[in-house]
Symmetry: C2
Subunit: 505 residues, 2 copies
């Protein structure tokens, strides 16, 4: 178990208590802001203790529920445990836990997925009501009461600043040598007092190493020694490799045309197989001295840093496999000046993203022939995870690319459809779409030229004739021929899938 060494402030050392005692400080109806972004840096002991207490309360007839705010997704000990206990009334801003997803899609839980850059300012502006308790996992507490963050920052600064009470989990599992890898910027403000964020390179440090925290707000500290749990990445598949290959060719073309150099521009990459394949593709590319300005540092970015291909990666969280977590510890001193973790209001800030000019690569559920993107809703109604930071990046990127295999569910779903069943990213925010079939460079194209290119280059051969057939009829029969669309048919592919379990005609 943890020693008290990690808590160097004597006043705060007096606040150490059991997870059960700390959990009992949270009351039904409280809104609780917890740390955590991907399976990193989320509290692990308190949520499980709280889930137990809430289950007991429910058995006793008490309809105990809380509002839960985090950075983004967390691990099974947090979202999973609380969802299983039916403990969450309201959740923001992102979830990928399967139990919680089911509850949300059965209509049993309120969920609001918002742009990750909007969360901290809107909470501070008072748009979502009072934050009662913050529960934050940290690596340690300094003598002056400041906090050494763990493997994610997320909204921790905002939760600590805005909450009435603070509960800490000091987790010995985190390596104390991480101190100094975090960059906490305290220069944000509410309008009319906002000033420029003084960052001009992805690797600029503009803040301080630790989180400020008023010790008198701390009502409990729990000592833990529990690992982060990130889902392992499956090995690279051929489809992902092919998609990555198309994107590499495109980037080389941009260098050849003089629009990029071999240093590219800061990379933002969503999480997933295709993203990892792209990162793997960069290892064997002519590109060098790369930077990342992104939300999550995945295994693939660490590989690039190991290779000397990437100079620095800036994010708000790690999303490391168990294997990468071991490597991270072994080589921590090497990574120290090459990785920066920031609050998500900075990692996702439109001002910084627009200034740096990121190359953004994000996955999608489906794209329509005009280049609108659905990132969140299966068949328009069933939420998968949430919009996350994709909107922060895509509208402000230098190049916004969306990647996906052209089919899903063994070919019963075409990811290129006549009309997205839910729109998260509009055509104006999408410059490039890539599937294993090919790449569509949509820059400057009118809707009809976009449609022709997406159908020709990105759609699966099994669905191409169906898309061509729809589009030809739309060009004849639509009310307007600027964006030829037939309301009677636009969503018929989704309806067919609901009825016949396939989009095939």
């Amino acid at each position: 178990m943890a020693t008290t060494d990690r808590i160097q402030n004597s006043y705060l050392r007096s606040k150490v208590m059991s997870a059960d005692d700390a959990a009992s400080l949270i009351k039904s109806g409280d809104t609780v802001g917890m740390s955590g972004f991907t399976g990193s840096g989320y509290p692990k002991a308190l949520p499980q203790a709280l889930a137990g207490q809430i289950e007991a309360a429910h058995k006793a007839g008490d309809p105990f529920k809380i509002g839960l705010w985090t950075g983004a997704s967390t691990g099974p000990e947090l979202d999973g445990a609380l969802a299983k206990a039916d403990a969450i009334k309201y959740r923001l801003p992102y979830n990928s836990d399967p139990i919680e997803r089911e509850k949300i899609n059965r209509g049993e839980m309120e969920y609001f997925d918002l742009h990750l850059s909007h969360v901290a300012p809107m909470v501070w502006e008072g748009f979502f009501g009072n934050l009662d308790v913050a529960v934050i996992e940290v690596t340690g507490v300094k003598e002056d009461g400041s906090l050494i963050p763990a493997t994610s920052i997320g909204n921790n600064k905002t939760w600590i600043d805005c909450a009435d009470k603070v509960i800490l989990e000091v987790n010995d599992w985190h390596d104390e040598r991480m101190e100094g890898m975090h960059d906490i910027y305290y220069g944000t403000a509410l309008p009319p007092n906002r000033v420029p964020i003084p960052m001009v390179h992805a690797n600029d440090r503009i803040g301080q190493r630790t989180l400020r925290c008023d010790p008198h707000k701390v009502v409990g500290i729990i000592k833990t020694d529990l690992p982060d749990k990130n889902a392992p990445f499956p090995p690279l598949d051929d489809v992902s490799k092919t998609i990555a290959g198309h994107l590499m060719e495109f980037l080389k073309w941009e260098v050849q045309k003089g629009r990029l150099t071999n240093k590219l521009l800061p990379l933002q990459s969503g999480v997933g197989n295709v993203a990892n394949a792209v990162l793997a593709g960069l290892r064997d590319s002519p590109f060098h001295d790369l930077m990342a300005y992104t939300e999550v540092i995945q295994d693939g970015m660490m590989d690039l840093i190991d290779d000397g291909k990437m100079l620095c990666a800036s994010s708000t969280a790690f999303g490391m496999s168990d294997k990468a977590a071991i490597r991270f510890r072994e080589k921590l001193d090497f990574y120290r000046d090459k990785i920066i973790l920031r609050p998500q209001e900075i990692s996702n800030h439109p001002e910084v993203i627009r200034r740096l000019g990121t190359i953004s690569m994000n996955g999608m559920i489906e794209a329509d022939i005009f280049g609108n993107i659905n990132s969140t809703h299966v068949m328009g109604s069933r939420i998968m995870n949430g919009i996350g930071g994709s909107g922060d990046f895509t509208r402000n990127a230098y190049l916004s690319c969306f990647v996906s295999p052209s089919i899903a569910k063994k070919g019963d779903i075409s990811t290129i459809v006549p009309h997205v069943s839910h729109a998260d990213h509009i055509t104006q925010d999408v410059q490039v779409i890539v599937t294993e079939q090919g790449l569509a460079d949509l820059r400057g194209l009118s809707p009809k030229r976009r449609a022709e290119l997406i159908i020709a280059n990105c759609s699966h051969p099994d669905y191409k004739p169906q898309l061509e057939d729809y589009y030809e009829r739309a060009k004849k029969n639509a009310l307007g021929l600027h964006t030829p669309m037939l309301p009677s048919e636009a969503l018929s592919w989704h309806q067919r899938f609901l009825e016949k379990k396939t989009m095939r005609a």
Copy 2:
């Protein structure tokens, strides 16, 4: 006619020529970047001369066409004349000319409406190809060859910098005393060389008074004395006044809750009846010391300045009625330090908008029950104008509000629909929806709570039962109950309108 006094540089004075001679310098296939944003500051003589030459070429069997880029919409002498002459192959980034709109919707013209903040950087980045000629209306030419801008700035700086050749229209109609009201910022760059934009208040001046221009790029100067043509505003109607009243009540509520002060935050307002009603509503409000950070300065903003209610309005263009244009001249010395015109890459820059925290009020074609907004496409396919700057503002605003009457076409169209036929603004970018029926404050609400509120507060009584009926069935039958949506019915209201000329069941 104009004297040569307005051209103080002797080298450039030698470039004066007729509009016909200047137009003949433009060749078929050229991409031409013209000035103009709303009916302000657009070239008036050259486009008409060019239209004449192109009509003659067409009669002679020459398929003469150009690509046309502007700031946003222009006047009938530009877009109207060239569209009538069938002179435009490709148009960006915005159009509101009725002849051109018809051509686009008949599929006879390529049109790409993009975020107005994206235009200048993407052109500079080379994403849309070479710019052959810039045609810029100015108020005068200084001895050092720099240019005094006219009643709009738009993309003029970028067109002058990027074009191979420059043609100027020096328009004596513009008041020379405008010199000094413009603020041309030359600090933008391409990544990785971008730095913070040093603006922290809407009335900060960060640039210079004139446009730089290499005299050796100037191939012709046309002297004109022709008025801007902005559409007159109709008198305020009761529906618009009611909508404005709801919004005023909401803003007062926000002040009462301590989330705003009576100075509010910089206002951004779309163009149109409702926007003008809102501005009129502010005249009789308790709000004071207001600022505007917007695209277009309309009559209503000048009223607020006249009243002493508004300290400063920053925009990229005037959109004054003839009456307001006369008033502007009469009181120019009064307005001089209260109005700033900037390049649209600054007036619409996400960095600045997010920093200032605007209160954004934009019109819409339709909203769906979840709060997605269609700003551009009638029945999903027929473009009205374009997305303009609405996307730049809505995602970065402090508060993003959309306003519209709840019905259109004498009640045959409900502007609140089950599912938008085209999405321009996603729910995450929409905090408030207002119709004459009422206001829906959507902050922090899950999709179902949004739907309940929008149907209850914003829909027209004639359509409310129909919306409730759809939504109740969606909550029973949708695949996912997070965003209950039925693909078989979601666009049926639009289909019904296409078939029966009414959305009524």
